[in-house]
Symmetry: C2
Subunit: 451 residues, 2 copies
Amino acid sequence: MSAPDAVRIARAGLARLMEPSDLTGLALVAVAGPEEAFRLIGARDGKAPAREQQAVAELLEGVAASRAEHRLDAGLERWRPRLPDAAPARDLDTMRRLGGGLLVPEDAGWPGQFDALGLGAPLCLWWRGAVEPAALPPVQDLMAVVGSRDATAYGRQVTSELASALVREAVTVVSGGAYGIDARAHEAALAAFDGLGGPAGTGATATAPGTLPGPCGGRPPTVAVMAGGLDRFYPAGNEDLLRRVAAAGVLLAEVSPGTAPTRWRFLQRNRLIAALCAATVVVEARWRSGALTTAHRAAEMGREVGAVPGSVYSANSAGCHRLLREGAALAVTDAAEALELLGGRPRPSSPTGSPGGERAPAHPLDVAGGGDTAGSREAVRSRDAARPHDGLDIQDLLLLDALPVRSASTPDKLAVVAGLGIGAVLGGLSRLQARGLARRLGDGWQRTRPD
Amino acid sequence: MSAPDAVRIARAGLARLMEPSDLTGLALVAVAGPEEAFRLIGARDGKAPAREQQAVAELLEGVAASRAEHRLDAGLERWRPRLPDAAPARDLDTMRRLGGGLLVPEDAGWPGQFDALGLGAPLCLWWRGAVEPAALPPVQDLMAVVGSRDATAYGRQVTSELASALVREAVTVVSGGAYGIDARAHEAALAAFDGLGGPAGTGATATAPGTLPGPCGGRPPTVAVMAGGLDRFYPAGNEDLLRRVAAAGVLLAEVSPGTAPTRWRFLQRNRLIAALCAATVVVEARWRSGALTTAHRAAEMGREVGAVPGSVYSANSAGCHRLLREGAALAVTDAAEALELLGGRPRPSSPTGSPGGERAPAHPLDVAGGGDTAGSREAVRSRDAARPHDGLDIQDLLLLDALPVRSASTPDKLAVVAGLGIGAVLGGLSRLQARGLARRLGDGWQRTRPD
């Protein structure tokens, strides 16, 4: 069910007047409703009505907001200078023309996971792309993959493997559309999607806006949550990439078209990424990095957070190690471990996996072993796989240690060397023989090679 | 106070008969005392006396020991075949000749930290080197630095930096004398010690056995806890290194001279390393690695455990990442973080640091910034150090975002762009100006560069 037009218009207007996370404004909307809030601000010279002032102050009492934010008149003073720029009908029209629209909390498809932000939930969500935000997968199938702009080759490689494995597992990769890790995450998600039969080529016009492209029943490979207005693609160097994200997935923003991204809006955008996804993985981040904000916000909301370890000499991993040391994140070394963050999520009827058939592993734990990754779990762990002596009890281990490899030894001598009774030696030799670890040689016994 | 000779002889004899962590044997010693235990085993064909059998079974009831270990007669059957090899007086003599000796729990200098092993505490400690084990530093100044034998260049570099920084902080580096990480840890500790004025050259004869070498008041730079007898240096490729460890520090083993290292003895040796030190740092370890045993044993005893992160593509870091994921270890990325594992230990009157003077930083957190490390904390974090806008409140951050860099803007215009009231803008501009972040230009304001 869609929200009434008047509500949509009011929220579109408010989004132009208020910065993201303006708690006074959000409180006013909560107590008065969006239409009345917009009307009240629009009454240019009116004072803050006592009733609303009281209600806003009471609502903010329970929130960790500064005293200044309790004052509705200060809010009015803040918002009113922007009234000349408020043109909600025009903004809605602009986004419609660009193949998008506006989702508001009153819409049935509003993502429930934003409730975790409490009063800080966004006023509305502008969107642009092939998939309406109302058609996003459920929260447990959304994973944020974020990191620093100046990614290293290592970070880019890990990001690519992670994002493509996630898409093959029907998980949508959410990121921030920035250079570096973000760009690589979107890029790899799109490539994996194409590999599964998603729309190839993907000029922005490849699919009608808001329709369900490709073979995936509308489950987009990737979502970019932006800090600026969606009328243009920012940063400029990512324009082509973001166009392709829009063609196969969707771009989201809480700020209106025409709004420039600023430090504040970047910070607040990060909370949206954290809230939208069941888990956030930070691939590379410096000691101080916006990606850490995303991780911390996610942790505060009880979302899962992963951090990819790296060289202790890499400044780009220092932030990840910081998260690990703080206990804010779990170490994630491959796609399977990233998927574990989503919990024991049952594999869906593999909407993106089925067209590719053999490329979709049966079990999350098999993902990294898919074969086309540079550093699969197998490669990293194989040489340490099960050994023949696993599961032997202490006495048999002692006996195995005592068995010579080149010569042979009698049970009596083995008893001395191993420090075992003769009964334990005889029983043990037959158990080791059964496992192929020992063999007879004349009167004696020896260990079979290789160890 | 020294233990009576008869007790020392008895424990030396028992060490030859019993494998490390032979709980039946250790229980017998606990209930009957070492002399009676040795006598009882020596009564070649005597049955297990009912009283001792009962006491051993009762003692082991409370321990997680297997049923088989409750049976004293099975123990006797195990130990007696080795009686012909038991020659405690000869073993004691051998170790004396090699510049060492035997420490037993009845000695006043017995390291109290082995109590954490409960019944599994070693029967005795053979030693060889320049420092009697009774003169070891207190547990909070002992740190284990361990890892895999096939270390990478990365692991070796981290180990070197860690071990040398620890020694400069008067922490003794404990390891297992093996190839790879262990060898590098001993090596770097010795080099740092030499740099501080420790005995240079260090042939095994450089100092009289058991005396306090160099400038450090007997605090050894490094301790090697070995899995085999101390009459020879094993592995052969580390012979020169281990001689130098003996010359400046000490080698320890619970097994008698002449005893070969076996898988079991390696495993049990790891518990000694874990128990001896307040903290254990694993620098590199494969998915399955002996170093993980050390870490797990340390964690079980409530000791601190650190693991050094590395590339997710390195099999040699997979074990470290495993420890991090299990929550068994804290990520350690430099010496300062390793020192944090030792708690807020007050810097001692810097016995190893004082001769070097300026090389001993005033505070543990300064260690990695010492300058001679390839990847100091500074290098890894510096570019992310404090920024001029740190500590600005939200409104001033919004204002800073709104200030143009090339042109200038009036307060009225800034109020619209920043979404702030005019009062907040005027107050904010003066605060930003005071921080050097904003300046007047004609009627307007601009941001000062660089950002």
